[in-house]
């Protein structure tokens, strides 16, 4: 049983789900100000290559590589964001689409990235961790695990902690002055500006936060697969990330999280569909826009879950139960 659960292949898929959740959050952050970025794959590749090169060529530790990957991606985000975010939303979509393609052309042509051949031998997060733990005296045998199980498991645990931290960060940010500014801009940009919110600043902030998180995810990806090539970060990747948010929902952070988890796991369960994945994704995008533009999980679903959960609690513990206002929250759909 334990061997079945700790099958490195399953753990690796679980790890990819976690990385895709981070990517889903990255596009959600940008969308939460009503901006659509098609450059997530570009920022992801910047993070991936930066971290890979920093660890391989400069011999820096992995965590330093990951942080520098995220920072470089954020800087690129600011660079692209400032000229485009002053304008209508469609400009951002085009500029980021172009940006993604150019980054790919760049990595395809550069010598240090080995061009289209790709970059092998990137230090694997799990194996490096297992090595350090072994140096401290904790080895896989002591836990009754095989080495590849142990390193895959370590990687999964680290990613899980990271994902929880990222979610925690943005949930808190959403429930603050910053989050309110984001939502206000998404709802009505001009009105938000009139109410004293520097909209350009917050749009650039949200966009570069999205870029940073995408870069961060890219770096994690590099140290999970140990091999990257420019083809990993094509336009299709950007569209795939977009689908996490469009399918799962872009109103609440749980939407893209659900979307990423569900859509990453699905082709593993339904093997036959894997070949037609992108065709289905395309149809899914069109159908979602026509029938449920806010995605599967929206405010209503969350409130419904909350109410249900509350009732359960009330039922269990005989409390004074005053949740008077819960029922009045409702809404129609916007993206």
């Amino acid at each position: 049983m334990i061997d079945f659960i700790l099958n490195p292949y399953y753990i690796q898929i679980a790890s990819f789900i976690l990385i895709n959740i981070v990517l889903g959050i990255s596009i959600y952050i940008t969308l939460s100000t009503g901006q659509l970025s098609l450059g997530s794959a570009g920022f992801m590749s910047i993070g991936a290559y930066t971290s890979a090169l920093v660890t391989m060529k400069l011999g820096m530790p992995i965590f330093a590589g990951i942080i520098s990957g995220a920072i470089v991606a954020a800087l690129a985000g600011i660079l692209v964001g400032i000229p485009t975010l002053r304008l209508q939303g469609v400009y951002l979509a085009v500029a980021t689409l172009g940006f993604g393609e150019v980054v790919r052309v760049l990595f395809n042509n550069m010598e240090i990235t080995r061009g289209a051949m790709g970059l092998p031998g990137i230090p694997h997060f799990g194996r490096v961790l297992a090595q350090s733990l072994a140096d401290m005296g904790l080895t896989a045998d002591m836990l009754g695990l095989r080495n590849n199980q142990w390193s895959a498991l370590l990687l999964f645990i680290v990613l899980l902690v990271i994902v929880i931290l990222v979610i925690w960060f943005f949930v808190r940010q959403n429930h603050s002055r910053i989050g309110r500014a984001y939502t206000a801009i998404k709802e009505d940009e001009q009105a938000a500006e009139s109410m004293g919110i520097p909209t350009t600043y917050y749009k650039v902030l949200a966009f570069s936060q999205g870029a940073m998180i995408a870069g961060f995810a890219g770096a994690l990806y590099a140290h999970t697969t140990s091999f990257i090539n420019p083809g990993d970060f094509s336009y299709h990747r950007a569209v795939e990330i977009l689908i996490f948010a469009v399918f799962g929902g872009s109103e609440v952070i749980w939407g893209p999280i659900f979307g990423a988890a569900f859509l990453t796991a699905l082709p593993e369960v339904l093997r036959d569909l894997a070949d037609y994945r992108l065709i289905i994704y395309g149809l899914l995008l069109v159908a979602m826009m026509a029938f449920r533009p806010q995605g599967l999980i929206d405010y209503n679903v969350i409130n419904w879950l909350k109410r249900k959960f509350k009732k359960q609690n009330k039922h269990d513990s005989v409390s004074n139960g005053s949740d008077g206002n819960g029922s009045s929250k409702q809404k129609g759909g916007t993206l």
Partner: protein, 294 residues
Amino acid sequence: MFEQQLINGLTLGSIYAIVALGYTLVFGVLEILNMAHGEIFMFGAFIGLLMVVQFGAPIPIAILAAVLVTAVMGFLLERFALRPLRGKKGVSHLAPLISTIGVSIFLENLAHHLFGAETQPFPVSFARISFEIGGVKIYLVQLTIFLIAVALMIGLSLWLQKTKAGKGLRATAESIETANLLGVNTQRIITLTVIIASAMGGIAGVLVGMAFNAVSPQMGLAIGLKGLAIIILGGMGNIKGAMVGGLILGLTEVMSVAYGDSGYRDAIAFLMIIVILLVRPQGLFGSPATQVKR
């Protein structure tokens, strides 16, 4: 050989211009970026190729077939991906953008399954025929492409200026409400616009296939991106901007390959986007007012 490059640049630019016209027509009327335009264009190229290779059809027939198929695709695109979103309350401006992205990804992968992922050559019977004028070598293919492109641009301009439907289209582009009040059937004009834009994409597809002697499912994205760059350069929704912008990009690319580094040729379009957004965000021919409009 500056003159030689000039000819090459003009040929390339005239094709780019037609691709950009497809984007700009739809944007001008609907204020929607049709992200599927590149893929419709790619289908046009494949249909043309199919006609030439499978049925040995001459180029005019191939173009006609491409036009027919892409026009139908345009109709379907409008009917199923755009119309359901129009006028619906609470739908943001991103919805049609995302919807057409969906169509683009669908079409590209459909092409993978139908035609295969490889790049295929586009045989043209008169590919080797060329003549020289003042030391400049001009291929008949180039001349054909250039003439078709120019004829198409002139035809479109005349149609917009002179015909009733063309005037209706321009009125709809100004303001859908006003056009409605003036008795224009805007629903029909909108459908017509997407169909015409798509059919022009189909022609452009065949021309690109001939020009590069290559057709592949990925060409939609590569050329489509350039079309998008051009309409930002020329001004979104601006017909003249698309034509001039296309020529500028074509010439710049050819010159940069001739006198610079060819590896980065595809980066030029993007650099152009950034520069124009910084310097003149409304584009070369756009009016600043479009910026305020949301």
